[in-house]
Symmetry: C2
Subunit: 220 residues, 2 copies
């Protein structure tokens, strides 16, 4: 167990806790108080740390993901879906039913236009509908004209995400990649969007960006 | 004031609070206890509600944004940057300096490759570096091979964002669009990415998606 701790950087008391909680399978007993831990234990520890440290998941959710990983009869598509599902942020629906209905129609039309094989009641479709309803509620529905452009961009990102996950070796690795890709990918995409906005803004309003002092004095 | 409240849906006591806090300019006095409120007050109220309700900003941050909006000498590029800056999530840097250094180099190379007119110490560049360092820390550096693909996708999104903001009439409207686009846009993009992943996963692992029961029994 000391070796496993050194190899993974997870302290021994934490490993013992994961064993007691059933998140980590017991090692193979080699003597009454000696057990052997292998590659599968190291992989599982990496997954648990990714779920807790990167995903910020509570232990109950970690247990559910681990259970899904251990269910070898579960098809890969469903396993990955279950893992990603624990990480989808919920978004409060807009209280005005008119906005929600219009948003739902827009989302359903978008899914049909893109030819996406997804259910209209997928949690992500529900989250998209709630966010779109909020855009309508603040009276800025013209923002939703960008939905197709956003969807096209999401398809490129998703293709890169999937090939990253497919490079994982076995269910633990693949699920760890889903978690890292979802959480850290989201952080990277948000930051990249902001950087691209700064660049686009500098090009759209070149005077102020190229020479801020001159621009400030010229307008004062 | 009652009329302003009806037109905007903001309760009178809340309007009085914003007046006391200096977030809303005083109305034009028409008699000792009667004031006229116009379009500019309605626009400002919309902005404040967007910052608090959509952006989830504390009042101190709202005050800073309002101050920036009122500074007519500030170039548009800088005003939009200040508004977006209040919404950039901070991300804890990875404690391992080797990961941080490698991540910083990757981000600087990316910015140079894309030809982005941004500073390397822009908060978004710092956030991107922190997230990339975390990816390296969990040993999944191959995910960073997708950075260029993600950046290309971010450029398309940013172009749509900027044209949405440019349709705003005056600083209040434009800043409100920055807030709504940043916060609700992020929620929509996250949900779209997830939907595109579900679709891509269904195509990559078609057996399980097309006929889950058959797949489950065939692997059991």
């Amino acid at each position: 167990m000391g070796e496993l701790s050194r190899a993974t950087g997870v302290p021994v008391p934490t490993i013992k806790f994961y064993l007691r909680e059933g998140l980590l399978p017991a090692g193979e007993l080699t003597s009454p108080n000696q057990a052997r831990y292998g590659e599968e234990h190291a992989r599982r520890l990496h997954l648990i740390r990714a779920l807790t440290d990167v995903g910020g998941l509570p232990l109950a959710s970690v247990a559910k993901v681990v259970e899904a990983v251990e269910d070898r009869e579960r098809p890969v598509h469903k396993l990955l879906g279950a893992a990603a599902g624990t990480l989808v942020p919920t978004y409060a629906p807009d209280p005005d039913p008119a906005n929600s209905e219009r948003a739902r129609a827009l989302v359903e039309e978008l899914i049909a236009r893109r030819g996406w094989q997804v259910h209209a009641d997928d949690p992500a479709a529900v989250a998209l509908t709630a966010a779109a309803a909020s855009v309508l509620a603040v009276g800025l529905g013209d923002y939703l004209d960008s939905l197709d452009e956003f969807a096209a961009s999401a398809e490129r990102v998703a293709a890169a995400d999937l090939s990253f996950v497919a490079r994982g070796e076995g269910p633990e690795d693949m699920v760890e990649r889903v978690v890292v890709g979802t959480v850290l990918g989201e952080a990277m995409l948000g930051a990249l969007r902001r950087l691209a906005q700064v660049d686009a803004s500098a090009r759209l309003y070149p005077q102020s960006a190229a020479d801020p002092d001159a621009a400030e004095s010229s307008s004062g």
